[in-house]
């Protein structure tokens, strides 16, 4: 049983958590809230990882004993954390080794470890993964293994910190089902921190909303209504980008006879399961990958053009904001691409519109995740490419950030790879599903 009494926490001057009070006793608790509101800090505090990183008042009790009096290793087998990105938390090369990892550290004998591996995998529905290498797993399978590796230690509490943020809709549903199954079968407390509460809140015993460090119990999840501006409305047919019979394969076929026309001022959404080839499609357009077929920009083939030349007309934003920040101030970063291309740029208006003007002399790596994403976007918009490709720009972004990103893109022709159907339906003129290498248009009634 966990009791949190008047708990506040700060790293520097500002309190990140303010007077938190909650009790968790063998229940499924869902905590939702904006990015940066303090949800992950609360998770780490409960698991005992924040003792030496900041200052706190109040107390967190685990079975009546203050968390501060526990050694980290004393607490770790009792309170486990499953993190956002499964790739980052897997530290061995085979599924069995990964699930055995904690038990081996705790010096369990081989028979007991084998027994626990089977038990944990059966609960997450991953018995078929037992003999696999971790490198061969899909995103959802990796998250199942990460969950099983914590579950195998039979903790009393598992904290899931946005466990589905990198996953597609179907896999998200599957992982949420796994969490509810764990709660039932393993008889533990589960704390789920999640933006995508739609798939989990029905199973929650208690719902909380975190807002600027304050935790409030709520009966119903907050209504999310995007202020969308397209909502699957068609635009005038004025083709800007055309994909004609595009094929791409390496070990297996990834794209097969893909045909797509993107019109001027149109926002096209590309959806599909993890690994279905969405990113490869964008990489082909940029000529990072060798494809067959043809791709035309304003009626002219760009198949044989160099990426550097294509990039002047087609901007691209990659998945991870940190992989595409190269300068040491926000202003320099925002003007980086036009300087390289030798183009004029008007960045002041974009900095203001994105809310980043106040940080123009700050180091971009100090910005929040949402701010970094906006910086990525304005650093491409700064040289006004004809079309913008965005690869899953909404991962880890809350409702407010999504709205702000989409407002930045309101006058731009875009192809956006995304997972969230609500965002797609609010902002895209057309949506396509990539399945089995083929693109299928999603009808407004779907």
């Amino acid at each position: 049983m966990i009791e949190i009494k008047d708990y506040s926490f700060r790293y520097g001057k500002e309190w990140v958590l303010k007077d938190i009070n909650m009790t968790i006793d063998r229940e499924l608790v869902v905590i939702t809230g904006k990015s940066g509101s303090g949800k992950s800090t609360l998770a780490l505090s409960i698991a005992g990882f924040q003792k030496s990183t900041g200052e706190h008042t109040g107390e967190i009790l685990f079975h009546g004993r203050n968390i501060d009096t526990f050694d980290l290793f004393e607490l770790a087998p009792k309170i486990g954390i499953v993190q956002q990105d499964p790739e980052s938390q897997i530290c061995t090369m085979s599924v069995k080794d990964e699930i055995a990892f904690g038990l081996e550290n705790l010096c369990y004998d081989k028979e007991k470890i084998e027994e626990r591996i089977e038990w944990a995998l059966s609960i997450v529905g991953g018995l078929y993964l037992q003999t696999r290498d971790t490198t061969s797993l899909s995103g959802g399978e990796k998250q199942k293994v990460a969950i099983a590796s914590i579950l195998a230690m039979k903790p009393e509490v598992i904290i899931f910190d946005e466990p589905t943020s990198n996953l597609d809709v179907e896999t998200t549903k599957e992982i949420m089902q796994v969490i509810t199954k764990i709660k039932k079968k393993a008889d533990i407390s589960a704390i789920v921190i999640e933006h995508k509460w739609k798939h989990i809140y029905k199973f929650a015993d208690t719902l909380y909303e975190m807002n600027a460090g304050e935790l409030k119990r709520i009966e119903k999840p907050p209504e999310i209504q995007y202020n969308g501006y397209n909502g699957l409305t068609p635009v005038l047919k004025n083709p800007l980008l055309e994909l004609r019979n595009v094929h791409f394969s390496y070990d297996k076929k990834i794209l097969e006879n893909v045909n797509l026309t993107v019109n001027e001022k149109e926002i096209v959404g590309i959806m599909g399961a993890n690994g279905s080839g969405k990113t490869s499609l964008l990489m082909c357009i940029m000529n990072f990958l060798q494809y067959t077929g043809d791709i035309l920009l304003k009626g002219k083939s760009i198949k044989d053009k160099k990426t550097a030349d294509i990039a002047k007309k087609i901007g691209i934003i990659f998945q991870n904001p940190n992989h595409q920040i190269f300068e040491n101030t926000v202003y320099k970063e925002a003007t980086f691409a036009p300087r390289n291309f030798g183009m004029d740029c008007s960045i002041d208006q974009l900095l203001k519109k994105s809310g980043l003007a106040k940080y123009e002399n700050e180091n971009p790596f100090k910005l929040s995740y949402g701010e970094k994403r906006r910086l990525n976007i304005i650093s491409v918009l700064s040289y006004s490419p004809e079309i913008l490709l965005l690869d899953e720009p909404f991962i880890g972004q809350d409702y407010q950030n999504v709205q702000e990103i989409m407002e930045l893109l309101s006058d731009t022709t875009c192809v956006i790879v995304l997972h969230d159907p609500f965002i797609a339906h609010a902002f895209c003129n057309r949506i396509f599903q990539l399945k089995g290498g083929n693109l299928h248009e999603v009808q407004p009634t779907d």
């Binding site: 290793f73 954390i81 530290c91 904690g102 550290n105 940190n322 390289n340």
Partner: protein, 217 residues
């Protein structure tokens, strides 16, 4: 019959030592022929290796003193040693690095170092794909990655995103490993057993005997 990865590793080391302690050109040629014959089907001609072998042969042939026969024999011996070492790597190239690390821990390597090895093997492909992604992002932002300026630009614009990504990953991994009690005790158990069979012991005795004989001879 499957040898333990550690046996294979020791075999490669002994083989390389033998290549250098033996001077008779026929024995050196015989040693060279062992991995060549065993792995000739898997071997793909690598232009760099061929070029480097010719280079070694030419340099030694030109700069070593003595008559023509001596110079040819000396150069050939060096080339055979070089190629022997390259081919012997084939013995180990298909080995699962995870099993090798477990074998080392089995014979006494402290588990903190052994698991660091496992972690390194696990992270190499991730860092490699992250580096590729950063390179693509640089190209998309117009960074010149051609000609002489490419080296400067790569160094200048890769360091920060790469370091930041590495630190982020290190943070997540620390949380993941400490959260599963890594380092709690001086020893840990292993679910995976690295097995040494009678074949391994027999082969190692033979090998060490052979090495001893060669050194004595």
């Amino acid at each position: 019959m499957k040898f333990n990865p550690l046996t294979k590793f020791i075999t490669v080391i002994v083989y390389c030592v033998l290549l250098f302690v033996v001077h008779n050109i026929y024995v050196v040629a015989g040693l060279f022929a062992i991995p060549f014959v065993l792995y000739v089907r898997q071997f793909r001609v690598n232009r760099f290796i061929v070029f480097f072998a010719f280079f070694i042969f030419a340099i030694n042939g030109i700069f070593i003193g003595g008559d023509l026969h001596y110079r040819l024999e000396y150069s050939l011996r060096i080339v055979l040693r070089f190629l022997g070492i390259v081919f012997s790597g084939m013995l180990f190239s298909k080995e699962d690095p995870n099993e090798f690390a477990h074998a080392l821990m089995r014979v006494g390597l402290p588990y903190r170092y052994g698991m660091t090895m496992v972690l390194t093997f696990r992270l190499i492909p991730l860092f490699s794909s992250e580096s590729m992604m950063i390179k693509k992002a640089q190209m998309a932002r117009g960074v010149n990655l051609e000609g002489l300026s490419s080296v400067v630009n790569m160094a200048k614009y890769t360091f920060f995103p790469w370091i930041y990504a590495a630190l982020e990953r290190a943070d997540a991994l620390t949380l993941s490993m400490e959260g599963r009690c890594f380092g709690i005790y001086k020893k840990r158990t292993f679910c995976k057993e690295s097995v040494f069979s009678y074949y391994d012991y027999g082969w190692l005795v033979l090998l060490i005997g052979f090495l001893g004989l060669s050194l004595g001879w």
